[in-house]
Symmetry: C2
Subunit: 357 residues, 2 copies
Amino acid sequence: MTSPAAALTQVRDRVDYALQAFLGSQRDVLLAAGDELLPGFEAVSGLLAGGKRLRPAFCYWGWRGAGGPDGPAIINAAAALELLHAGALVHDDLMDASDTRRGRPSLHRQFEAYHAGRRWHGSPAAFGTGMAILLGDLLLCWTDAMFHASGLPGGALRRGQPILDLMRTEVFAGQYLDLLGQAAGDGTLESALRVVEYKTTKYTIERPLHLGAALAGVEPGGGLVAAYTGYGLPLGTAFQLRDDILGVFGDPAQTGKPAGDDVREGKHTVLLAIARARATSPQAAVIDRYLGDPLLDAAGTAEVRAAIAGTGAVAECEAMIGRRVTEAVAALAAAPITGEAREALTALAVAATARDG
Amino acid sequence: MTSPAAALTQVRDRVDYALQAFLGSQRDVLLAAGDELLPGFEAVSGLLAGGKRLRPAFCYWGWRGAGGPDGPAIINAAAALELLHAGALVHDDLMDASDTRRGRPSLHRQFEAYHAGRRWHGSPAAFGTGMAILLGDLLLCWTDAMFHASGLPGGALRRGQPILDLMRTEVFAGQYLDLLGQAAGDGTLESALRVVEYKTTKYTIERPLHLGAALAGVEPGGGLVAAYTGYGLPLGTAFQLRDDILGVFGDPAQTGKPAGDDVREGKHTVLLAIARARATSPQAAVIDRYLGDPLLDAAGTAEVRAAIAGTGAVAECEAMIGRRVTEAVAALAAAPITGEAREALTALAVAATARDG
């Protein structure tokens, strides 16, 4: 049996290598415009050095499950999803005014400090914002460069392109609904789950699997694509529920984000929707007091953690995670995929939902 | 002879139609995630309704000049560049804190007002920023969706992809150098020209022509590609110099931007670099007083216009434009292109540099 840890690291190490090679090729293109591009290149390289490579792993196993042969080309194509993800994270951190990502300052904070340290003209914050917008854009556009230079045959890329396009439109739709929900949302579980469906579930698991299958020549509408949906949708929700729990209760050393960050940022997560629905009046008062408070400190974090846990919402989320992982793994049982892929995807389901960070 | 106006409108009307059809196809994909996506869709549709379609025109004539046949597929592929450009404009306006684009409020201002009018939670400005980041991202990603669904054969798209990738990396490199120049630049003509080369010249003219040629099967390194560079580089600089003049002296009814906007935003343009190099002390004092002043009003605009014109910088820029257009057109004379393309590109050179807005 593949262990959950091995299921992640096997693909991750190869994706890391592919990303390094791609970055090497782009370094020269960027620096041709001027040596001043180097800090920008180094910032995106630093960001890309981290990450669990979940989306590439699901794309890779979506391909292998459909009978696609192992080799560097599918790793390159799958690794391109990591560039899309990094670009989305840079822009997400900017929108959320997050200070930290993967244990380092977020890109806009890095360039804000860079500007401030040099006493340049204008506002350091505006400079940081501009750099994060541009470097995020660059990462998004690099997705296609790496995907199309992957070495996969033209016919495979042509079949994959519409899935990649759909995946991007869906994730931006999910982020849009999330932003709208934070401004004008009803805070219900239903709204939170719809954001999760678009922003996380489809984007992280279902579409990467579908992309791998399409690249391998599987037509839409068949049993394999349906099986990947049957696995991906419950697993994606379970993945996000784990993220929700880590966003309140996670250890910063593991998550790379400050403690209680989701509370501080006032995120409308499923965990918080359940907590609010179950809360007694005193518990609700504590949650409402701290939710969206940018000055939330360690004492406040401890208090809001106790209130949320006291509602039973964490236990309910853990039970939901367990049921959905079981459902996801069951969908693999009858799926027309290779035995090796079934084993790896089973291990990945555990790795994606039992993690600490 | 093709008139300059006709050279623009012939391709523009077909590009408009192609963009409408593409937007229609994406509307359903977006609204599948929720009806709440409609205002975002309408905002990008409104932005895409305007524009001179210069980049698609150069891509189209790059293809036709290389002997590519007319038809809807090349129009679709060329129109995809307008999605890239619209995405870059949305993010550019956000970075520059511009209020206006194509005669309408910029996207971040539209959504700021949308939020403020509904008295939602949080900051209207942060909501506007988030929406502009997301909708710009969506437009950037749609570039590839439209390009690959253009109907051009797979072999053509494979040849074009590296040029499209290079074009995007170059334009972001140019924007990065521009942002850096505004924070820490030396204000010299040399620095301003390098930003122009990457942010405008290659992006607006040279690479769209190269993309059209690559799609039509022309190998890099041949005489046609060199001729397009010989035409594109001087013309791109002339195009930007016209933009620089309009950015200080343009009529808002024609440019769709407020009067004197480049001065208000403290842009390091070639026109301003020349003006500063030529200025007497009193002229330099006027320019320095207003450059980057967000409160620049009509009286200040008139004063700074007089100071810049008084240096002779406008006349020098006009002479530079004239020389570069002549150089661009001369590069076409010996180019191995069709007569129809030579005539259209000659007319486009005039249309791109003699415009009022």
